[in-house]
Structure formats: structure tokens, C-alpha cells
């Protein structure tokens, strides 16, 4: 019985490991970072200087005088203004076929978007959520503010 418990705990551990490694793929890079900018990853708050990797499932946070710009692997570009919280909910992208899905949530603040190859390939493949709306991105440039 003890061995069984042991092995199932090990199995659960392996599952946890494998799921982290799947979600840990780099999907973008911080290209602009002004003032206070952080990446929230798992339960950690990391600094986000120019060149920092952005992973699927990261949340980008700016302070009162912070702003940040990110270029993603499908060439889409997102930038946020002060006091903003942007969650990367999902990004899959096939470099060869350009199929993929890109979902983000603006939980607070302001966001500017120039969509990339994912939205170009399929009009329903990119979405931006705000607290009360869902935007289906057909292309290309737009801005969003999350109300409070």
C-alpha cells in the first residue's frame, strides 16, 4: 500500500513536471521596458528588462509610471501603459503552417495591439478579453482599456 501511494505521488509529481515544461515555452520577448515592469510567473514576481523571455501563461504587470512592449513568435506586438495587468492565457503557433491560437486578458489598464501571423491565418484565432468584453481579432491595429 505504501509503495502504491509512493508511486502515485511520484506519478503526480512527473505530471506536474511535464505540464510545467509544456507551458514553459518561450512565446515572446520584452522589447520595451520603462519604469516598473514585472512578469508574474507561477507565484513569483520577476523583473522584466528588455530582452526578458515571456512564456505562455505569464502575466505582465506595470506600475504607476511603467510601460512595456512585447514582440511574440508570430510577429504580433502588444504594448501596455501604466497600472496595467496583461495575462497571456494561451499562445500556440506552428512556424510552418502559421496555424495557432493566441488569447490574452487585459485585467487592468491600457493595451495597444498590432496582430501578427496567427490572426492573419484565421480570423477567430486571436482574442483579447477585458473584464466585460471579448474581442475577436480579424486584424490589425487597435487599442483597449479595461474598466474598473
Amino acid at each position: 500500500m505504501k509503495t502504491l501511494l509512493h508511486s502515485s505521488a511520484l506519478l503526480a509529481f512527473c505530471f506536474a513536471l511535464s505540464s510545467t515544461s509544456v507551458s514553459a515555452a518561450e512565446v515572446g520577448k520584452i522589447k520595451v521596458s520603462t519604469g516598473a515592469v514585472y512578469i508574474e510567473r507561477a507565484a513569483q514576481r520577476l523583473p522584466a528588462p528588455v530582452g526578458a523571455e515571456v512564456l505562455a501563461s505569464d502575466t505582465i504587470v506595470t506600475g504607476e509610471n511603467g510601460s512595456a512592449g512585447i514582440t511574440f513568435i508570430d510577429n504580433s506586438r502588444l504594448s501596455i501603459g501604466p497600472n496595467s495587468v496583461l495575462a497571456i492565457d494561451r499562445l500556440n503557433f506552428d512556424q510552418t503552417t502559421h496555424d495557432g491560437a493566441f488569447d490574452t486578458s487585459l485585467k487592468r489598464g491600457t493595451l495597444s495591439v498590432i496582430s501578427g501571423k496567427i490572426a492573419k491565418r484565421s480570423p477567430d484565432a486571436m482574442t483579447v478579453r477585458t473584464p466585460s468584453m471579448i474581442l475577436g481579432v480579424r486584424g490589425t491595429e487597435f487599442v483597449v482599456r479595461a474598466g474598473e
Binding site: 520577448k29 512585447i70 468584453m133 474581442l135 487597435f142 483597449v144 482599456r145
Partner: protein
Amino acid sequence: MRVLLSAVIVMLTACATPDVAVLLPGADGKTGAVAVKQKGAEALLDSPYAFAQSRLSGHPRTGHSNASEVQRSFGAALASMPPAPVSFTVYFLSGSDEFTDESKVEVEKLLAEMARRPAPEITVIGHTDRVGTQRMNDDLSLQRAERVRELLAKSGIDAGKITVSARGEREPLIPTADDVPEPRNRRVEVNVR
């Protein structure tokens, strides 16, 4: 009475800062489209500065904004937009990893662009025309791509940020029959993000 009052206050605060989406004209002069959904209602933004604003009723309010309003509300976000990814193509002499004379200018442009970009990420893809065997062309296309990578590395770019691949004669810019020389296919594409 007190309950009513606080309900009104809650409604007013909710109204004070609704969610807003504004479609912008693209840099290429074309304007795209964004479908905005709030609960059951949907609005399509498809003209410059068209906006949708969330409402308590669940039906978004739509209308048109303008450049100065957008600048006022979104200026900081817009100012932090990273530069657009760009592509360069460098052409080579037949059967060799020597650049053509015209391409030397393009290489200079590429190096200048790299120096200007924050945290540049580079993809280098080598190609050949269809003269020679596929095997030879696989080697030659890699040799051409490596040549460009070395050049970038020499100019101070961290080699770890450069991804190199080679496609041989498989992805011609100009499709030709086998063994046909085609200068436009003897190239290396460099994508800079």
C-alpha cells in the same frame, strides 16, 4: 433608501470606467476589423477609430473616436510598441557563398538595423537555385546561411540569438525546372524581430 443609494453609487462607479476598444488605421493605410462581444450582443468595428464601450445593459455602445482622443487615453501604451519585424534578402554568386555586389549594400542595411533594435532575434534561412544535386544544394544553402550568421556574430550580435536553417533548392522564390540557374533563388533570407 440607503440600499437604493448604494446601488446607485455602485452603478455610477461601474459606469465611470467602462471597457473600451478602438480600432486604429493600420500603418499600411488599411484598417482591419475587431468583433466585440459583450454578453449576448456583438458589434463589429471595421472603420478607422470605430469604438465599442461596455455598458451595464450588456449592449456595447458604439461610435467613432479620433486620433487625438486615442493619443490622450492610450499614448503611453502606443509609445511602447516595439518596432515592426523586418526581412532582408541577400543574394549570392552562382555555386558560391560570396555575396553579389548589390547585396553588399543590403548587408550594410541589415547590420545597421540590428544595431538599432532592442533585443533583436534573428532567423537566417539559406536557399539555392536548382543547379546541382539536392544534396549539394543542401550543403551550399547551409554554407550561405552560416556565412551570414558569421557576419552578424562578427558585428557583435550574440550568436545565441541567431537561428540558422537551410532549405536547399526546396523553396525557390522563382519556381524553375531542375538544373536551371536562377540568381533570385540563390539567396539568404534574414528575418529580424
